[in-house]
């Protein structure tokens, strides 16, 4: 009889902070750039250079720690983690081992099986390493130190997760918090959020943790889910064969869907940490903490709750609108502009445009919410024009497409392209008469009781009007004339 196994997962997540400069020098921390154009003696580890801590890094780490319910070490300091590898020009990484800035927090996640707390062991500040490219031609490696010294916060969870769904819920939650706080854009593909998965399996109910492996190179949520499944199976297979799981670091190959042992025994982990003598301790006063606390923005859950209460939206709609801070900001700005213009039911009207059209177009264009760049005032103006009945729904959607893509100013766009609904019933009436006159058979059918043909007539009128008529008005006019009898 096969044994039943439970998977035990803990995560080490690295988040690149959205600072202008690196953690210990005044080089730009911007992603990309020609190789080595953002480097200086500090971030390339030149002897005699002196690192000086970027204050913003501490602010961001504190904001993140508070949002994740952590306790703060009001005196923290930096340590050197020693290892030799060319991505690290100093031969040590400046990190925090003995007194990390935050510890003992938690995030609450939501999955199909309900709410769950995932404990956070600690968060610490550290510097990123450079990037290695392997040159096949010359059989050598090339190093770009632009990323060396970019500030990171590493968030270490407790082994509280049991499956891929929980892991992804945790990562999504963390990403959302970072984005709301503005501390990181958390793009897995660009490497501004990286997750290492520590995984072991244990016999269900035994309570005895197995040997864990650490998996790296996971750059999408899908890859993480596949890697968890793959590693779980690999470990169970080993145990079933009576073999042991080796404690090691493995690299996931998402194309082949298998993992490889990355480091051999020769590279046994022994980082010989010691306090960095170049960096004095960081002492965080009560006032400093209060300042950060005061600046904490409304996070996703609070915002969604407020949308339900204040705006009367459903929980589902509120969660859709708050899925990104940028989206929520645009939505709120639109609502407040509409309220200024005294449009009744502004929150719901704006929500319809965001949930219906905006999300549809984002999906259609393969864009992220962060890529939205239209002016909320333009959408607000369009909604006002709709309210006045100056354009019909169909036209409004087309105009919105132009706002979405090119941020056009809707009032003049509608004017210039002659998209206004013709409200002059004189014009409309003459066209209705013209259509009825040229379709005598259809009129007969209608009058003999086949009222379904009305749709065809409406279509003909709309075509003649080039869409610039309100379908309801056309409907009404047609019916009036048809019911008046065969006077045509």
């Amino acid at each position: 009889m096969a044994k039943r196994y439970e998977t035990v997962i803990g995560l080490e997540v690295h988040v690149e902070l959205a600072t202008a400069t690196k953690i210990f020098c005044g080089c730009s921390a911007k992603f990309g750039g020609a190789p080595n154009t953002h480097t200086c003696p500090v971030c390339t580890g030149m002897p005699g250079s002196l690192p000086v801590l970027n204050r913003q890094v501490v602010d961001y780490a504190l904001a993140l720690g508070m949002a994740a319910n952590c306790r703060i070490n009001q005196t923290c300091k930096f340590d050197r983690k020693n290892y030799f590898y060319p991505d690290n020009p100093q031969n040590y990484q400046i990190s925090q081992l003995y007194l990390p800035i935050c510890h003992d927090g938690f995030l609450e996640i939501r999955t199909a099986s309900g709410k769950k707390k995932i404990r956070i062991h600690e968060m610490h500040m550290e510097e990123d390493a450079g990037k290695l490219i392997h040159d096949e031609w010359e059989d050598c490696s090339l190093v770009d130190y632009n990323r060396s010294g970019v500030p990171l916060v590493e968030i270490v969870s407790e082994p509280d997760m049991r499956n891929a769904e929980e892991v992804i819920a945790y990562l999504e939650k963390l990403r959302l918090i970072c984005q709301y706080l503005g501390v990181s854009d958390c793009k897995l593909q660009e490497g501004s959020m990286r997750a290492d998965v520590n995984l072991s399996v244990m016999e269900a109910g035994s309570g005895k943790l197995g040997t864990r492996t650490e998996m790296k190179n996971l750059n999408s949520f899908k890859a993480i889910a596949r890697a968890i499944e793959g590693e779980r199976e690999r470990q169970i297979e080993l145990l079933e064969e009576g073999k042991c799981v080796q404690q090691e670091t493995r690299r996931w190959d998402d194309n082949k869907e298998i993992s490889y042992a990355m480091r051999s025994k020769e590279d046994a982990k022994d980082y010989r940490y010691f306090p960095d003598p170049d960096l004095p301790p960081v002492v965080i006063s009560g006032e400093w903490l209060a300042r950060i606390k005061e600046r904490q923005p409304e996070l996703q859950e609070e915002k969604a709750e407020r949308y339900e209460k204040e705006f009367g939206l459903s929980a589902y709609d509120a969660s859709l609108l708050t899925q990104s801070r940028h989206l929520a900001d645009l939505y709120e700005q639109t609502v407040s502009l509409l309220q200024q213009k005294e449009v009744a039911g502004a929150p719901k009207k704006a929500a319809n445009w965001f949930i219906g059209e905006t999300l549809r177009l984002l999906k259609d264009r393969g864009m992220e919410t962060e890529d939205l760049h239209f002016t909320p005032g333009h959408l607000a103006d369009l909604i006002v024009v709709c309210e006045r009945g100056e354009v019909n729904n169909q036209t409004a959607k087309k105009v919105f497409g132009r706002i979405f893509d090119e941020d056009v100013e809707p009032v003049s766009y509608i004017e210039e392209n002659g998209l206004k609904t013709v409200v002059d019933t004189g014009v409309l009436e003459s066209i209705v008469e013209k259509i009825l006159a040229s379709n005598p058979k259809t009129v007969e059918e209608y009058q003999s009781g086949k009222t379904k043909v009305l749709g065809f007539l409406v279509g003909q009128v709309m075509k003649e009007m080039k869409g610039k008529a309100e379908p309801q008005t056309v409907n009404r006019l047609l019916m009036e004339k048809l019911q008046r009898g065969p006077s045509l």
Partner: protein, 98 residues
């Protein structure tokens, strides 16, 4: 605390960590030197530190910060001038993967 003896096992481990390949002679010399250093540091144990607060840093300084403002431009060429070998604006190093 018991005296730490630098034996061959420790030497071997240090060589791996430091990526050094020493000859027998070099190893013996390095072993002696390291032993001397450790013995010297052991002298600190003779001090009475009962009344001494632990230190996080040797100087009484704290909170030395920079503001988050870019002050460095592109000094790639000057930086690469320090490299023994470079190619396409990058540092050239022995191959790191098999």
């Amino acid at each position: 605390m018991a005296k730490q003896i630098i034996d061959d096992t420790i030497m071997e481990n240090i060589e791996i960590l430091a990526k050094l390949a020493l000859t027998c002679e070099e190893r013996e010399k390095a072993r002696e030197k390291m032993q001397e250093m450790l013995d010297y540091i052991d002298k600190l144990n003779e001090l009475n530190t009962e009344e001494t607060e632990p230190l996080a840093h040797t100087f009484p300084v704290e909170n030395v910060f920079r503001e988050d403002v870019v002050t460095n431009g592109n000094s790639r060429d000057a930086m690469l001038a320090n490299a023994p070998k470079s190619k396409d604006g990058q540092y050239q190093v022995p191959k790191t993967v098999q």
